[in-house]
Every structure is written in C-alpha cells, then in structure tokens.
Symmetry: C2
Subunit: 305 residues, 2 copies
C-alpha cells in the first residue's frame, strides 16, 4: 500500500514571527520520514527519523530547544510504539542526551521493559554508547528567556508543545513517536502524557496510530491516544474520532490539545482544539501543511526538493 | 448507595506456606477500607487506606517488602485516581519512603501535575514533610533472598506482584489505587504499568474503577484498566469486561495478570489469568476472599471483628 506520514510540532500559540520556521520545520520532518517510507523503510524508522529532525530543530520543544523545569534544567520524555506487535519503548525525565526518541527505541528493542526513567534511563543510554552531552547544550536563548519570565508569574502556563509523528508503511504497519521537553517551569521530575502509553501515543495495526500534544495532564486523564483509537474501533472515521477525543478532553477536564492520526487504510487527519498546531502530512507524493485553523498548504513533494 | 471495596495482593504464584498470610493480609486491607466507607468516608480515602495496610505488610510487593532492582535497591511506583473528576496522582521509581500511595495522593491534591518521578518525587515528599527512611528499612529477608537467587538466573522472572484497591462510596463515587515495588531484579529506573494512568488503574464515575496486577509490560501494551472500562462502556458486565481484557492481553501480547473492578452501580469482580491472585471484597457487610481459582470464602464482617 501507499505509505503515509503525518508529523506535528506541538499544539501551542504560534506568533507570526515564528510561523514560517514552524512550517518549514514540520515540512522537513515529514519529508525525512517520507523518504524512509519511499525507500521501503518501516513505519517505526520513519516516525523515529521524523522526530529526530524536530528534536534537532531548536524551535521545537523537544531535544535541543526543550523548555526548562523550575530549576532551569532540561528533562525530556519520549515514546515510540510499533503497531505490529504493540511493542513500545519510552523514557521519562531523561537529561543530557540529544535524541530521547532514539533512546526510547533502544528501550523497546534492547530491554525487557517499556519505560525507563531518570537516572536509570541515563545509565541505559551510557550502556548503549549514546554520548552524554552537557545539559546546557540543549538550552536555547528563547527557552531560557521564557523560563525567566515565567519565574515571575504566579500561575504557570500550560502545555508548551511536543513533537510527534505517525506513519503507515508499504507493508501496512503503523507506528507512532512523540518527544517533548514537557511544560515550562514544571516541577523537577514532572512526567507528562508523552511517555505514558495510550496518552502520548498509541499504535495498533488493527486500528491505527495516534500522537498527541497539548495540556499533558488533561491528555493523561482521558488517555487521549487510546480513546481516539477506541472511537475508531467503534466505527468512527479518523476525523470523527479525533474530534470526539478532543471534545471529551474539553468537556471532562477542560483541556485543549492536538492530535495526528492515521488508520491502517492510510486515512489520516491533523486536528487541534488549541489555538494553533504546526503539522505536515505526505501521501501520494503530495505534501500538506498548516498551522492556523483551516490552513492547508498543498505542494507536490517533487517541488520541495 | 451501599459502599463496596475490593482489594488485591498481586497476581502471583502463592505457595501453600504463605497462603494464610496473603488471605489475612487482603482481608485486613478490605476491612480497613470498608471501615472508612461505612463511616461515610470517600472512595479515594478508602482505597488509599486499604493500600497503606498492604504497603505496611512485608508479605506484599509494595512499600515494606518491595522486591529489589538489579542493584539490590527498592524503587516503587504508585497511582491513585478519583472517578469524580478524573483527577489522578502518581509517583514512579521513588525511593526511601514508607507509603508511595500517600505521596501519589499528595501529587494529585497539592500539585498541577499527575506524575512525579525519581528525584523529583523525593524532593516533593520532603517538601510535604514525609519522612525519608533508609532504603534498607523497606527490604525484607525474603526479598533479598529472591534477588540473590535471581542474580544467578539467565532470564528474569516476570510480574512479582502489586497491591491495589477499588471502591464505590455511599455517594456513588468510584476510585482506584495501585502500589508496587515492580518486578524483581528489574533495571534501575524501570517503570511498569502501575503509575501509568489507564494501565495500572483508572477510575471514572460514569463507568467504574479498575486496579491491575501481573506482567507489567504486557498490561502497558494493552492499557488494561482503560480497555476493561471501554468494554464496560460498550455494555459488558464487570465480569465479561474483565475476562475480555485479560483475554486480549493473553492473545495480543502473551501476558497474564489479574484485575479487580467495580462499576458505579456497585457490581464488582476479581479475575485473574495468572496462577493465583489474593483478593478480598466487602459489600452488604459481607466479606468474600480467595487466592486460588474458584476459591470464595464468605464471612459476615461482624464475625471478623
């Protein structure tokens, strides 16, 4: 079947000044993932590579460019899941590595476990030869400024973005990957929805794959990714299920966010109840992309090269 | 309505020598939770107090008596959830405290977050005046012997138990609580299903509450607690939904475990696909309890006093 990739760069408010950077970031990530798929690569590798592009881009809240916790440090969460056999790997509150999504994949493939946290995740990274980098290398001027500004506020801002990808490969396998620095000025050791299976993402070849972003604590309370797949199992389309999931999160726990979804037939959607969400999708050699509600730029992949 | 409490002491193989201890442990926990409910206490307090009894009992793999990780240390996970508003609190890989379930409740009630891990969980415990205890105080001779024996084995044993409780209070509110030392000889920082919402437990007044135990990585892959509640939303009874959830886990990821479930009408069940599971339930001033398949001891609460 024809492969599909969808990526998101977080459900956040995006000011005009940064809009083009977000657009070009999600396009690059989608093109990287699509390239993997077009060469016959599997869905897991495609979502991993797409997320690495976003982790390496300092504009996005994941990897380099992650927001800072209350102590001014970067602690990151990530998850990857293979819809073929429901295998999954995740890391929470991990520090001083460039690409948490690569470590999540190693947890999935090299251990008997699904989730490693904090010091244990670092020990495992070291055992796998992943270089430790100084925490400051992940910090941008923008994330430090935001942190300093928030230190003075009484109430902390919610949801400062996440990145993610979902894909179907030519064999019909689905996968998801999500990575984040979490919420800015969060408590030390705060773990959000991202590394929690069924909340930050879920993938099942029988149904499809979801990656979520937004108010992490709200996403957890409704296990948003799994909820949307349950709606799809009950016969809803990817669009209907995404709307129903986001609506449930709004009505039950007053949370907003965004999702990208594919089903195993290759139908996909990108939906959000937040102000904005950067996203890009490629199917049939055609790239679509947007940030604002109703925005949908259409470009043949050949013209992007 | 009439309150109900159900507790479990883990889905594990229980040798004859320990059977009476497990039975008496789950009975005590259920009686403690029921006492809270009978005095008009809420479901959240009932499940917390029941789990504290099991954490304090060295026979069970939670709190005092937790199994040891590969380095011979205790790292514990716990979750609590209030079905009234889907609020939840959890801790993962926390060390050197007596009652992780109490800390999980404080995360729920005193922070904007749902899950705190490792060092961050310890910092928060300190800020709340929870005494730090030496890690060795949580270790029993039995858990150290098991750890030493497993060090010599090539493949690590799966699922070494969890404790949990679900309840409906007289107001019709449901809640769940789950607490564990995880799997014996686990990697440092391994987080299982217990603190992951939807896997180790879930509670929603619209449906019911679930606490799970067993092979943690398998429970995560099928988000067992949320899955069972989805089945109930689709019209299955608590028994049918529990069987269907455990069956899904067996067929999709070859995992075994056990669950305790109540719905918001006060119907309850305790089911397991593992060899044994210690459980106790109280409804209508009648206590039921068992360990082996088909075992169901029946005692009026008045006779236990």
């Amino acid at each position: 079947m024809k492969p599909v990739i969808v990526v998101h760069g977080g459900a956040i408010t995006i000011v005009q000044e940064y809009a083009e950077g977000y657009r070009s970031g999600v396009k690059s990530a989608a093109l990287r993932g699509y390239d993997v798929l077009r060469q016959g690569g599997d869905a897991v590798t495609a979502v991993e590579e797409a997320v690495v592009v976003l982790e390496d881009n300092p504009l996005f809240n994941a990897g380099h460019g992650s927001v800072l916790n209350e102590e001014g440090e970067v602690e990151m969460d990530a998850i990857i899941m293979d819809g073929k056999d429901l295998s999954s790997g995740a890391v929470s509150a991990v520090r001083c590595i460039a690409n948490p999504i690569k470590l999540a994949r190693l947890v999935m493939e090299k251990t008997d476990h699904v989730l490693l946290t904090c010091k244990g995740a670092s020990l495992f990274a070291k055992s796998q030869g992943i270089p430790e980098i100084p925490g400051e290398k992940l910090i941008t001027e923008r994330s430090r400024e935001r942190w300093e500004k928030n230190l003075k506020l009484a109430s902390k801002p919610k949801g400062t973005g996440t990145v993610g990808a979902v894909a179907v490969d030519s064999q019909g396998n689905v996968a998801c990957a999500t990575s984040t620095g979490g919420t800015t000025n969060k408590m030390v050791g705060r773990v959000g929805d991202t590394p929690c299976i069924g909340s930050g993402g879920y993938a099942d070849n029988n149904v499809g794959a979801v990656s979520t972003t937004g108010d992490g604590e709200s996403i957890l309370k409704v296990t948003l990714a799994r909820l949307i797949l349950h709606y799809m199992e009950q016969g809803m389309s990817v669009q209907e299920a995404s709307d129903a999931g986001l609506n449930c999160m709004k009505t039950r726990v007053d949370g907003t966010g965004g999702v990208i979804v594919v089903n195993s037939a290759g139908e996909w959607t990108a939906k959000f109840s937040s102000n904005h969400m950067s996203w890009a999708a490629i199917k049939d050699d055609n790239l679509q992309c947007g940030i604002y509600l109703g925005e949908n730029e259409n470009i043949p992949v050949a013209e992007t090269l």
